[in-house]
Symmetry: C2
Subunit: 321 residues, 2 copies
């Protein structure tokens, strides 16, 4: 099956390919054409997922499609951008219709959730991997970068952390759990919901933001470096789900600190905006503060420094990337 036929057959007719006003020309020509309004900038991000590194070969193609797009769109949320469109570069060993059908359905469902159109792509033969490039729009000057955090700002997160890292032994089939624990953890792993509304809400309020993909400590390190400040995290303030507490016990906080794959926003917020943001996004939690200095400090309830767990995200099945 040729590249064009493959794309047309499984993706072009999918609901996610329906063009909105912003999409002047979709799939099928040399380029897609997007309209950007005056006063807006285009936000762009690219993510690759590789079989055996980011997901197992045996994984459900519907869930893979859903998750791949969610992970990519999370970068738009982190920027305060409104989703517009995406392209998919799909490398496949074999063009298996049942697999493609399910993958396209998962992708399509997440595209509808995020209100974005598939506008182009490329299919090639090779070991399974996906590269998604996502496009969003954001008013000029209002994008949430990593570099604006100022001493005195509150350090906040958009919801509970650690569920996806907690789910990893379940994904890998290394452990089992009762349904009331396994289901919410696996749902968070396979179908994270990009916090797009929160990102839009934080425009003009948050001084810095990113989405937590590498783990809270590592990602706070990125903000601290980009903003040339220190971030202090109070360990007891980190929000955790009941399912994770039950499943992971004392290791639950470490899942949040050093895990990854949360796709929850972390942001720094001047105190004057706290009430307004909390009113519209009750799941948010203040977990610390921005200080003069550099790096990330973890403290207990008494403000005493704690040695953090080993940081950095471990890709699925990999230990050194």
């Amino acid at each position: 099956m040729g590249e064009f036929e493959l794309i047309r057959r499984f993706f072009a007719a999918a609901p996610c390919a329906q063009a909105g006003e912003a999409v002047a020309l979709g799939i099928g020509d040399d380029c897609a054409l997007l309209n950007i309004s005056a006063g807006e900038q285009l936000a762009v991000s690219t993510d690759t997922l590789v079989v055996g590194v980011h997901f197992p070969l045996s994984c459900d193609p519907f869930l893979l499609g859903q998750r791949a797009l969610a992970v990519a769109v999370s970068d738009l949320a982190a920027m305060g951008a409104t989703p517009l469109a995406f392209t998919l570069a799909l490398t496949l060993d074999t063009a298996e219709p049942a697999w493609l059908h399910a993958f396209a359905a998962g992708l399509s469902q997440m595209a509808q959730t995020c209100r974005m159109a598939l506008v182009g792509g490329d299919t090639t033969r090779g070991p399974l991997s996906l590269t998604l490039t996502v496009f969003g729009r954001v008013p000029v000057g209002q994008a949430l970068t990593r570099s604006g955090a100022r001493p005195g700002d509150l350090l906040c997160v958009g919801g509970v952390l650690g569920d996806a890292a907690g789910a990893l032994p379940l994904v890998l089939g290394q452990r089992e759990a009762p349904a009331d624990q396994a289901e919410p953890l696996l749902r968070q792993y396979w179908s994270p919901l990009p916090q797009l509304e929160l990102g839009e809400l934080l425009r003009g309020k948050a001084t810095a933001a990113l989405d937590i993909s590498d783990g809270l400590l590592a990602d706070c390190g990125h903000v601290a470096r980009a903003s040339a400040v220190a971030l202090q995290i109070e360990r007891e303030q980190i929000p955790l789900s009941t399912a994770l507490r039950l499943f992971a016990g004392e290791a639950a906080t470490d899942c949040a600190l050093a895990g990854g794959d949360d796709y929850v926003l972390a942001f720094t917020l001047p105190e004057e905006h706290l009430v307004a943001v909390q009113a519209q996004w009750p799941a948010m939690q203040v977990i610390g503060r921005v200080l003069d200095g550099q790096g990330v400090q973890l403290v207990d309830g008494n403000g005493q420094l704690i040695t953090p767990p080993r940081t950095g995200y471990q890709h699925f099945g990999n230990t050194d990337d």
Copy 2:
């Protein structure tokens, strides 16, 4: 080496990463931010190259970097778009500094040639492959699609065809050739120059355009289908280089018809614009005409139908994709 460090070390400091006015925010945050002027649309295209499919593992990383970007940017030329920026998703088995250095240098050189900035990317561990997503800008309503060809238009190409297909036995080490044949053929294979100025020149003149990547016959088939017309190609009018004629002999025309990888524009042009385009792009050649009907016809000097060679591009090392 982590993803961020890898990108920063080899690409962020490269000249191609220097931001122009259009790049509001480059590498290093969750998204890049691009400015699009009022009255312009964004053109977007994605291409993937996989080791063993599109290039040999042993290939020179400088040439690979150069070629990968040229191939992707050619889609912007085909749309009449002016290049703006690109993202790179790089999947690597090992992060070999010498390889990365040379690859980044090749990429960077082509980026400077095309005046575009690297604005983001992703690096992952896995079998070597590259996905480039390129961005350009084009005045609203002036993009060159595949669907506007009308009976009576001339069918034209932007220069000689078949050199890259002719070079394939040299790339694969299956044949040797004297330097005066090998050098120009290999240069066209490894360093095709996207016909950006031609694409811009054709805005408001050509009724359809694309870049020849699958071979002249297959690509003319795409235009014929999208425009619901027939395209007639006069075999004797297809421009061929001296190097290809010497190296491939009687097979030279078949390299042009059924080969691929030319990255030369094919376009349909109302006769009234011929003189103006020819004056500014003397390498162009009229090779046929748009007719009522469907499909692609190949004719000899007397207008007699000729059976075309087997069409469709064969990926490097592959016979069935």
